[in-house]
Symmetry: D2
Subunit: 455 residues, 4 copies
């Protein structure tokens, strides 16, 4: 285990993008290739069986493959060599057909696509868990008044449920995208050394189709060896997800500030505490998500830079992907997992939220006051009157409500109770409830179209 792994990663996904999974992914390709070629009559069923039976990562000497890869230029060459030796012990004739007609990149890319499929499953389930936790917050706090902040300044009242609904809608959009990503990314790579499948003579496409079926992967019209837009789309999706998670984490960290203190990551044994600073409750999960949101953008940029690959197989660009894409996935999945845990246990302090609403002594209600007094006083008069009262409230450091209560122009038309109600945040929430309903409805339905609009 790497020292920083538990802090930034999710072990379930880490296993899927690690070295053993990488080797097994390639072996799964080799096994399926042998079976497909047997189906197409290119090799014998016996050879295919011998090859397939040998395609188990634990039979390989990973350290030896790693060393040999440095000279060979990729891991598939020594892997095929080792595999061939293993098959040979079983069936010398079969050994001649290991990797038949394929090129290293066919094994490496397809193997990685198989890893991706497993990753997608885990990430999708975790996104669902995050969405459900957010939906619960949105529902529970749909009426909990809090203050909306823009430019890191208090702006106007809103509800904590609407804030959570905003987080949820973004999370669900990412999940919708993941669905679409499967069709793009879960595609076979198979072209042979020159991308023509020449070594298979006239049987190339037949083998390709059988191989696609074996692996349950779509078969593209043409190999995509040096065209990396599929992998870039995977990277960009994870990058966008990391950004969404980072945004939520930033919000949580801001809410956890000592001076704000409105919501908190769950406490736990040795989570974010400090023995010398007993008042602290560090947003440890948010920090992990923010670190990921800081790191992943540059890695996605790398994937984009690496797209400029030469001719039929690139030099430098393709190699640059090998560790970068797993890193993107690992960091983002880690952020997802840690943040989901934090959101699932988020502690919300509604009383403190209410208290903070009062910090500006009613000034965040000046727009509300203006709108509310309009009908009684006339729109223009209401505007001017509130502006003046606002200035007085700031200068005299009094509550805007009290300043207004002192003004006969106000009290002539508005009762004290009505005036008090003006400064009730629940009275100035506009369409917040409808918005929350729309988000929760779409989440419950799992419906993409509801999410992206199109009502």
């Amino acid at each position: 285990m790497k020292l920083l792994e538990p802090m930034f990663r999710w072990d379930a996904v880490e296993a899927l993008v690690g070295d053993a999974a990488r080797l097994q992914g390639m072996l799964d390709f080799e096994a399926a290739l042998a079976r497909a070629e047997a189906k197409a009559g290119v090799i014998t069923a016996a050879a295919a069986a011998a090859i397939a039976a040998s395609c188990r990562a634990e039979l390989l000497d990973a350290a030896q493959i790693a060393r040999a890869a440095a000279g060979a230029g990729n891991v598939a060459i020594p892997l095929v060599r080792e595999l061939t030796a293993i098959v040979e012990k079983r069936d010398a004739e079969a050994a001649r057909f290991v990797h038949w007609g394929a090129t290293s990149q066919d094994a490496i890319d397809t193997g990685f696509v198989l890893q991706l499929r497993a990753v997608f499953g885990h990430v999708d389930a975790e996104l669902e868990r995050l969405g459900d936790a957010l939906a619960a917050l949105a529902e529970k706090h749909r009426g909990t008044p809090t203050v909306a902040r823009t430019w890191m300044q208090q702006a106007l009242p809103t509800t904590f449920g609407l804030k959570a609904a905003g987080w949820l809608d973004a999370t669900d959009r990412q999940r919708d995208r993941l669905e679409a990503l499967r069709a793009v990314a879960l595609v076979l790579q198979f072209g042979g050394a020159a991308g023509t499948l020449a070594a298979l003579g006239t049987k190339g496409m037949e083998v390709a189709r059988a191989l696609g079926e074996e692996l349950d992967l779509a078969v593209p019209a043409v190999p995509w060896h040096a065209h990396r837009d599929r992998m870039v789309e995977v990277a960009a999706w994870f990058g966008s997800l990391a950004g969404t998670l980072g945004k939520i984490a930033r919000d949580v960290a801001l809410l956890m500030q000592t001076e704000v203190a409105e919501a908190f990551e769950p406490a736990g044994e040795a989570r974010g505490g400090s023995s010398t600073m007993p008042h602290k409750r560090n947003p440890v999960s948010s920090a992990a998500a923010l670190a990921a949101a800081t790191r992943v953008p540059g890695l996605v940029g790398t994937m984009l830079s690496a797209m400029v690959q030469e001719n039929e197989r690139g030099l430098g660009g393709w190699q640059a992907e090998w560790e970068t894409l797993p890193e993107i996935i690992g960091l983002t999945a880690g952020a997802l997992h840690h943040l989901t845990n934090a959101i699932a246990g988020l502690e919300v302090d509604a009383a403190k939220m209410a208290e903070n609403i009062e910090l500006t002594h009613g000034l965040i209600f000046s727009e509300a006051a203006q709108m509310a007094l309009g009908p009684a006083l006339g729109r223009l008069a209401a505007h001017d009157l509130v502006q003046a009262a606002t200035t007085r409230a700031k200068t005299e450091q009094r509550h805007l409500r009290d300043v207004l209560a002192d003004d006969p122009a106000v009290t002539r038309h508005v009762s004290k109770a009505d005036l008090t109600r003006l400064f009730d945040p629940a009275q100035y929430l506009g369409s917040a409830q409808q918005m929350i309903d729309a988000v929760l409805g779409a989440h419950a339905a799992g419906s993409h179209s509801a999410r992206s609009g199109g009502s």
Copy 2:
């Protein structure tokens, strides 16, 4: 005109992402908002008419807005102020309803979405032009032998048509994605100062729906002020496109090398020539596309970094998008336009391709020879024989064909004509024709499913 604009940009798109278009986009939002509010009975039809009639960029003092924006923090605030003054001259009452219930970000984001829609139209048409040019190359050169290169080394024979088909398939995938992108990106932003539409009382969603209809934009469940995944998806798509274009450009530049000389950007008056170096033909369009492919990844990374936006409206992150996304679009569209021109006039030297195939004195055919001699000599014997001949050919610097022709083990089974045929690249192309057919068929059909696989 900026000094480097014609070199890197496409004027048609540059106009759509420029300052005037930005102002007009916001004004289109303001006009539509007024009309929608009139429809919902929030303001009078007269006020809406007065406002809408004033929403023309040429009426504004852009320099004054620019100056004022520095203090205000965004351009919408001074724009609304200027617009209000203009409306006031027309109808003082109407002036009070300019921007009614909206926040700056509503105008800025929605305005940009409207710009995006226009950009998408142009870019889609240019992608079609590029695709058609590539399809023509793929068709014309479907049988033109050339050498596939991996690691920047000659590998095996292929056809230039298959290379073009690979470029085409990638281009068409990008076009498919653009189609999907419309649904994600062409969405209204409308939430008011706190994202609740509070200033519109109970009429918020009604106005939102009417506004969406006015602008023909989808209405989201909840405003997306601080959730930027939509814009990031736009950025990532352009980034991926820039990568695809850069890959094609790199290939063209490699083919244009003096020592390779297989394909050339079209010559033209003062295009890439040099008076002191008359033999040069510089790949000027490819350079523009490669420069874009170098620049755009970092900009996409910026968009991802900028996603971590605070609370209900970010500080720094949102502002970072304002010039970055137009830059991404402008550079990519420029690369697309320049490269499309280059591809549309690409000069292909099939004779030189044939000549280059001979550079290794037959060694690139050693796999082919092995496969072809197999039936006659037995697979293992063929393998060993060709390996030995290959070594001799390299040592003696002779053509592999001649070395084989000297070998009685070969001539016993293979006629001279058959031997010659072995070294005909057209005989070792595997499934190239089927692949080209599949790509061209999908291009002609415009069919996404054919592209991503799913046979």
Copy 3:
């Protein structure tokens, strides 16, 4: 003026990296080249005079150069052509010697180096202004208690002066680096078409030295056409400066939060205010600096990516620099200028700082209490006693001081006055004053060695 320019840029520097400055930079190279060649006897003094007299940007048709550059591949080719035509009108013979022996990149790179020198002067002066403003804050508030925050949580007491001293030290380090950068970056580019100065026969180095003297630039051992580490160092320095500015801006924005309210950007006509939200005071300058800190990293990454330039002159990489480096400079200089203005007028609320120190009801003093009670109670007893009191304070929501005052084990040894003093932040500041002195001393001395340590 571009719409967003005043918000993000500093006009003084913008002028130095703009199109006119770019053209004049190249013309200054051409004029100096002619003079140097006359000095070396390569061309006549008369020719040099005619050329030098024509090297004025206002004589050129910039739009025509821009258009022609798109075909030529760089701006120097059409510029030289235009310049030649201008010289020709003056002196037909001289016209033949325009740009004599040079290549486009010589003019473009050296011209940019000349622009850089002017930029460095402005930026250095502004860094001095920022440093002086920070030094004044550090001095004035050297004893102003405030709370240090880690993980965005209150940690322990510090002084606002120490915070300012930290900002200052970082700013001064950047200024030190700028000094070193001059030697690296202010270097002539001069190699002719192949980097050998072949067209000047045996006089190449003599002309190079004279040219270096003319322009007051160092002459490198060998041209650096395709080796871009000098320009990358410039980019990286600006990138690091943008980060330092972003860090200060983030701190200011955090301090300006409604709930924290400890320091504020200066108010001004129409600066960061909102008519509908009269309580808001948006950190507009900080937002500009944060936007720059978000944008510049990706651009520096682009400069690094662009280093991989082919052979004796790159294709795509060099072109990618042309707009990127000026963008890096413009954004960072803008951030510097805006933030300097904000810091120079920063309003500090020492009373609110003192108030915020009390928010945890003494808990941020628990380490201090432990240390202070140690001598009286014994170290271990003090530790256990304070831990217990801390827990009680949290549970009972009382001030730690009051909990301790209730404890006979404490009052037996410590007077009420001493207990009160324990919770005086001024009593727990460690080496803060010495640190402030060290930073201010180094700032006053302008001494690098003092800054980087080594006392």
Copy 4:
């Protein structure tokens, strides 16, 4: 060993940035802290001895620290806890003084600085090895004619030695920078929880100075917890080095192309070969360097993005550095090591270089011809005559020399021998030898000033 490690990394440096080195770096800090505090009379010599004796990484349970770090938020907290337990077994009293007065970041940052120092040593030595190998190439091939290429097109003659000298000068500049970097980066981090060293009372600076002496690190005026420019400078230097290496690698890969074939990475057992494609010689080391040059820029961007750290200790930004900077170092050091091996064994084919010079049939000599015929024919006449001959040579596909030899206007003044000499690349090399001398001289002297100019 990670699967891709030998391909991309250098084991010697990998060990220095790995987990064990990270733990030991922190332990070295803790040991030195104890000794420094004993020296300053803060703790007893016995306590210091007990602590120092326990500071050995092999005593720790790294996996347990890794797990605990996830909850604690950094690795120093559980490390200190484990260390304390270990010391306790030795000396219970001493255990209370482990990490006395320090904060986690003091240990983490200083520990990493210690790792850096070791890395710098290795990298400097390898840079020297690379420089020496390049100097040998520059010397040996100072007169080997080859063609300079711009825009990936043949331009004019140069020598391979000058190309190598350009690589060398860039490499030596990077080495000069490394020297300067030591002063910036090898600096103590020590400030305690709030950056004031408050827990050490009046002894803070005394301990700091003693600690600096213990570790042989400079002591800064003020802690730099949230000011990360030092680490960013380290990152940027490695980034620039990766770019320089990538540029050299790209050149090597271009020269190794089948069609160019002028220089080759050394062959070796299983290096870059292919059994099915016996003619291939893949540039495996160059690919590693190019992959690094593709990956490192985004990582440097991450370090820059991460500079925006909050208050006295950041949240997300600092954490983002922990794996990123070691990754930058590891990838760049790997590229350096692999490329140095390739350059040290580079095979140069001077005959093929001479052959390639002839590819344009003399056209790359048209500038040379013009210059050479000038004295005999008059400058203008020479220019026009060569232009016309050039056109004829291209149209008729003849050698420019033969076209000129047919022209009586030429033969009247120029003998056949002189005409032949015109097309001798050795006659048109300008200042190449002086440049090579200057670079080699500076390399031999190790002198910075000679490198950056200023002669």
